[in-house]
Amino acid sequence: MLDTSAPPAAAEISLAEIRWVGFRTIVIREYGRIIRIWGQTLVPAVVTATLYFVIFGSLIGARVGPMAGFDYKQYIAPGLIMMQVIQVSYANVVSSFFGAKFGKHVEELLVSPLPNWIIVAGYTAGGLLRGLMVGLIVTVVSLVFTRLPVAHPVALVAAALLSSVVFSLAGFVNAIFARNFDQVNWIPTFILTPLNYFGGVFYSVSMLPTWAQKVSMANPILHMVNAFRYGFLGASDVHVQGAFVLMLVLAVTLFALCVGLLDRGIGTRD
């Protein structure tokens, strides 16, 4: 027989406390997911970064020579770190939120008193958390292959945080619209990967013809990689302040878009 003894009377909790505890709970849950499936969430970035360093850095890089005045391995290291940060931030949110939709446990959040902006902030913080964890791990891998000075630490941290936030939010938008797992993989494969490769990770845009340089400027990842590289090496192909303004504008716009989509119930409510 089930025990039916009386529960104590529930005390009313302030909305501010509900929001704060709720936000922390989403972040803790996301952290738990990252750790629970660490073989999928943390390890692949290490393997990929190591392969890039061995093949592009040590084998091909030895024949490339210096880039923008830096050893080639040193030049590509910030870009490789940023590439992994961007990819895992995006992947974390799109897979976690779409998985919650697919498994219907997103309803746990939708029926709760948490406002939509807290739900978006919580998932974004989860993406940021994984992005920073992977960023730190890949930085350690980089230090095995090359030396990385830190020219502008504030710019370095700000670029990592903002880039991760932007792509976490972009992953959230993808998850909202995705109806199946194909649509979860479509954007990372056909949009994110090309943008990464043309984002100045492996080369300086100054090597490109003028028209290609102009086209490259439309790629937000180019600005993020160069802002991050500026933080490490003090060198950038783009206007650094402009890159930060771009990241801020993207972050605010995408956050507003995500909240607006949840408010309207697109992809989540009937």
Partner: protein
């Protein structure tokens, strides 16, 4: 103040289906309330609107006077939901699921762990707290969703088919549990296909059909409106021919089974008084169908006839 109050609630889905057509419904605090209707009647849509899983098209809904348009967070913090379909992360443990759910309602983790122990023990899931939820049996998964819904100690508990697919024993122990929760002051709204469940548990009832509330009454009043009931009588000895008892129409089902329709004006003593001189000894008797089911079918069929 009502636990739930809706006025002119409408829902038209994007495919043009009108699921709710101006639903006015009041559920009193402390009530154990049944919301019944055939498949597609609008029950789950109504619950979806109250719990904000479905956007309404028009009308108003208030939960303990909190308007879901203006005070949605407060309204939602009063509600616990046990949905029809399983909707927890099957890869997480029951402990994680219920503690996280408490967090979404602002309950800090130390208190959430205390409540988790209380509710997982009450629902006999404590031993399973650290295994993946996908390993639980169907009945355990249903109980886990009840434990999860209770973690923030809601004033209104909404149960959408809570005992679907669970065996009789578990269902009856869940009934006892829900009675206890209701006795302790929690208002409960229940939808179910098991009309016996509604008749046993609920004090008030609404029947919804084609998006309209077609009946709203006390359970006892509704059952009293049943003019005729069919009883099945099991006899000790085989009955050779259909017995004639003045005022009653009996039918023979098989050698030891008779059926009789009894109207509200008749009483069973007269029937037995007529059977005894004929040497027919009745061993047991039962309603042919659940009384609520009979009313429900009559209401729904009569509306279908008018449509």
């Amino acid at each position: 103040m009502f636990a739930l109050s809706t006025r002119a609630l409408t829902k038209v889905y994007s495919n043009g289906v009108q699921a709710l057509r101006g639903v006015d419904l009041d559920v009193e605090q402390g009530d154990f309330f049944a919301l019944l209707g055939p498949n597609g009647a609008g029950k789950t849509t109504l619950i979806g609107i109250i719990t904000s899983l479905v956007n309404k098209s028009g009308g108003t809904a208030c939960v303990f006077d909190y308007d879901i348009d203006r005070q949605l967070e407060r309204a939602k913090s009063c509600i616990g939901v046990v949905p029809q379909e399983l909707n927890f992360n099957q890869f997480e443990t029951p402990m994680t699921i219920v503690v996280n759910q408490a967090g979404f309602y602002g309950i800090a983790r130390p208190e959430a762990r205390r409540r988790a122990e209380r509710y997982l023990r009450q629902l006999q899931l404590w031993d399973k707290r650290n295994g993946a939820a996908r390993g639980l049996s169907g009945g355990m998964k249903r109980r886990l969703m009840i434990a999860r819904a209770l973690m923030h100690e809601p004033r209104l508990l909404v149960l959408d088919e809570p005992t679907a697919g669970v065996d009789i024993e578990v269902r009856r122990s869940m009934w006892e549990f829900l009675r206890g929760i209701n006795d302790n002051g929690t208002t409960i709204i229940l939808t179910t296909h098991y009309l016996e469940e509604a008749e046993n548990l609920c004090r008030n009832i609404a029947i919804i059909d084609k998006g309209n509330i077609v009946e709203r009454d006390h359970m006892s009043n509704l059952l009293r409106r049943l003019h005729t009931e069919t009883f099945v009588l099991n006899t000790r000895d085989a009955v050779v021919s259909v017995p004639g008892v003045a005022g009653f129409v009996l039918r023979q089902v098989d050698a030891n089974t008779l059926e009789v329709d009894i109207s509200k004006e008749q009483n069973l003593n007269e029937l037995f008084a007529g059977l005894t001189p004929l040497g027919i000894e009745v061993l047991s008797m039962r309603n042919k169908v659940n009384r609520l089911e009979e009313i429900f079918m009559r209401l729904v069929e009569s509306r279908a006839g008018h449509a």
